[in-house]
Amino acid sequence: MRNIQASRITEEVARLCIKANTDLNQPVEEAIRAARQTEESPVGCEILDQLLENAALARAEHLPICQDTGLAVVFVEIGQDVHIEGNLEEAINEGVRRGYTEGYLRKSVVRDPIDRVNTKDNTPAIIHYEIVPGEEVKITVAPKGIGSENMSRIYMLKPAQGIEGIEEAVLETVRLAGPNACPPLVIGVGVGGNFEKCAYIAKKALLRPVGEHAKDPFWAEEEKTLLEKVNRLGIGPQGFGGTTTALWLAIETYPTHIGGMPVAININCHVARHETVVIKEEEVAR
């Protein structure tokens, strides 16, 4: 049995909140650079240059890449042989509180969808727990802005609609998102499961590093096909027209019911933020 202090989790969450928001991850930056080489629209090229300049400036000056530093979405994989000393949920929220305060990040959470009073510390986080084999705790902080989240959709398709139905759902979602979600996009697609599982795996698809295809060759090929189709829509960087509407598209799948085929599309802007840490602590005799 491994023992991990809740305070350690707080420190790591705070650090990851700041890093994710100020340091654009390398695979995304490389994808923007690659898109800059192929973009056909001159205005589109200007926008991609601005995004690269912005990323460099944010990193150098420790400023947020985007002012919408998001809801703090936290994925926690807890090894089943781990014991956490202290309250885990409080520890995570304290990490968010500290990260967003000490990192001068924006506090964007309201306590109730109708009375809309700001909680002033960006808590509560949205936390997803998973119990896994082993004796480690893996934490991923994935701050998510609302501009792109608002353009995300879920479809409960019929099995007969097949792969064409999935493609049409994705293309319709990207068309409807248009300029609102700040293209170039990173697109997470969930296929299968049920209503909530499908949305969850679409979000998880956004955690896969840009450039890394699905392990299943069929779905890896479909990722390439769909990304090409998305980029033929012509929306382009910021919706000003062009050939770079999305930088990346990832599909996660899950077994589903004989009578259903849910498809969820979680839209992200180019600021596809996620930072991960694995905590292994000293062994404590029990």
Binding site: E40, S41, V43, E46, I47, Q50, L51, E53, N54, L57, A58, E61, H62, L63, P64, I65, C66, Q67, D68, T69, Y104, L105, R106, K107, S108, R116, N118, K120, G147, N150, G178, P179, N180, C182, R232, L233, G234, I235, G236, Q238, G239, F240, G241, G242, T243, C269, H270, V271
Partner: protein
């Protein structure tokens, strides 16, 4: 690239066309969802707005807090569509410029054509870069709204693209046609 300065008079508005890229210098005001709601409530009560709306430019932004030694944190545009319920009212009162990103409703475009106003986009997700063009920032109303408070900003060479002009031409509709395959 065109250089323009505030106040954004109707004469300047008329020279701007969808697709133009401009550098804006001068005074602009920040407001997003909550501040727009309060401004319209003030108008309902016959009260004055926190700033002179005539020939004014409103930037839809909720910046991150200013770290020590800076006037403002990261400050890119938010999605404009959420202000569509309020924008026609403010345009009728004399507002001539809006800065944001994303689609607008027909009601906003009609008000822009009727009264002479322009809709600019700033690059969404370029908050650090845009902040570097802001020289001063001062909260002038509703400090309780935090990031959503109304601020007076002084900007220099603020990079913008004209998306919808005062004749109703719309870059978001016209430009993607060219690249659709």
């Amino acid at each position: 690239m065109k250089q323009i300065t505030t106040p954004l008079t109707r004469d300047i508005v008329k020279t701007l066309h969808a697709g133009d890229t401009v550098l804006l210098t001068g005074t602009i005001y920040t407001a997003r969802d909550a501040a727009h709601k309060r401004m319209c409530e003030r108008l309902d009560r016959g009260e004055a707005l926190p700033f002179d709306i005539r020939d004014a430019v409103i930037y839809y932004v909720g910046p991150t807090p200013a770290p020590p030694g800076r006037v403002i944190g990261s400050a890119g545009p938010t999605t404009s569509g959420r202000m569509d319920a309020y924008a026609p009212r403010l345009i009728a009162e004399g507002q001539t410029g809006m800065i944001g990103k994303g689609l607008r409703t027909d009601a906003v475009v009609e008000a822009m054509k009727e009264h002479g106003a322009v809709y600019f986009a700033a690059t969404g997700g370029a908050g650090a870069l845009l902040a570097s063009r802001i020289e001063s920032a001062e909260v002038i109303a509703w400090e309780d709204l935090g990031t959503e408070a109304v601020r007076r900003l002084t900007v220099r060479d603020f990079p913008l693209t004209v998306v919808i002009d005062s004749e109703g031409n719309n870059l978001y509709i016209q430009a993607p046609e060219k690249y659709r395959k």
